[in-house]
Subunit: 171 residues, 2 copies
């Protein structure tokens, strides 16, 4: 094992790198987003396909403008995990005078690469980036799979409530 | 009692009207926001004053651009209740292809005017407005006082979790 470096760490014969996503990664992030929802139990291919079509230009535009920040972990040239952060406009609060909050989304690890701590590394990268930007509040919607990680990282449940105007309530 | 009209309904000697807020109402909305937090138990005057200072220009700009929509209920020329809706950028989802969600905030009724259904009227106004805009998802953070109203209006708790980067956790 050689010493760890910021990027391109090498041990045995594996090269890995966590890099910032660019606008060219829009399709890849959409693929991770779909895989995440499929694992959460969503099985409607048509709805998934429509989401991908809508999501790609949305995320591409925000990767360009900087309001979506994405991290991708590559191993041997293949992306095996990723996570994203949306910088959201939010009203100044008495505990947080800033008008920006960070919303984490699209955290996904390829099934063959789980159990190695990649999700936690990506989460720490995102929270650290938000902190360096001076953002106090980081939020997300947790799947049952992700909740233990978020709880052990200091995240707490909120009082958020939601109404689906068309009467369709997700899980 | 005379028949109800859209606006300016008169019964006995009370005139009331629910009107859209304008940029000129920024200070008034900030006052309602502060009163809402004070009733929720926040007693730090300095923090409240700082929030008001930060919130006024934030909401004024969004009232002008249309990303913040506010409703104010006036009785006899005095504003006695209000509520707001922020149009938020949100990633296209498989249940909602639109990239806009509605976030409700600053719902407040003057203590002397409670128990008359004003909060529910304002909520229905906001949800109806969101529906007409084609917005499927309406969210909010509920205080313990507001939760029964939101539950009876079809709102359900979400899986949102939050981290305060500086370690300060609100209630």
């Amino acid at each position: 094992m050689v010493a760890h470096k910021q990027r391109g760490v090498s041990y045995t014969d594996v090269m890995f790198e966590t890099r910032l996503a660019t606008a060219e990664d829009a399709e890849l992030i959409a693929t991770q987003r779909r895989a995440m929802f499929v694992e959460m139990g969503e099985s409607d291919d048509a709805r998934m396909a429509a989401m991908v079509v809508n999501f790609i230009p949305w995320v591409r535009e925000r990767l360009k403008s900087g309001t979506y920040v994405g991290w991708l972990r590559e191993e041997d040239g293949r992306v095996v995990a990723g996570g994203g952060m949306l910088l959201m406009d939010f009203p100044p609060h008495f505990l947080d005078s800033a008008a920006v909050r960070a919303y984490l989304l699209n955290f996904y690890v390829d099934p063959a690469f789980r159990g190695r701590g990649y999700a936690r590394e990506l989460l720490e990268t995102a929270v650290g980036d938000a902190r360096r930007r001076g953002i106090k509040v980081v939020s997300l919607h947790a799947s049952k799979f992700g909740r233990p990680l978020y709880e052990s990282s200091g995240f707490e449940a909120t009082s958020e409530m939601r109404l689906w105007n068309d009467g369709v309530q997700p899980d």
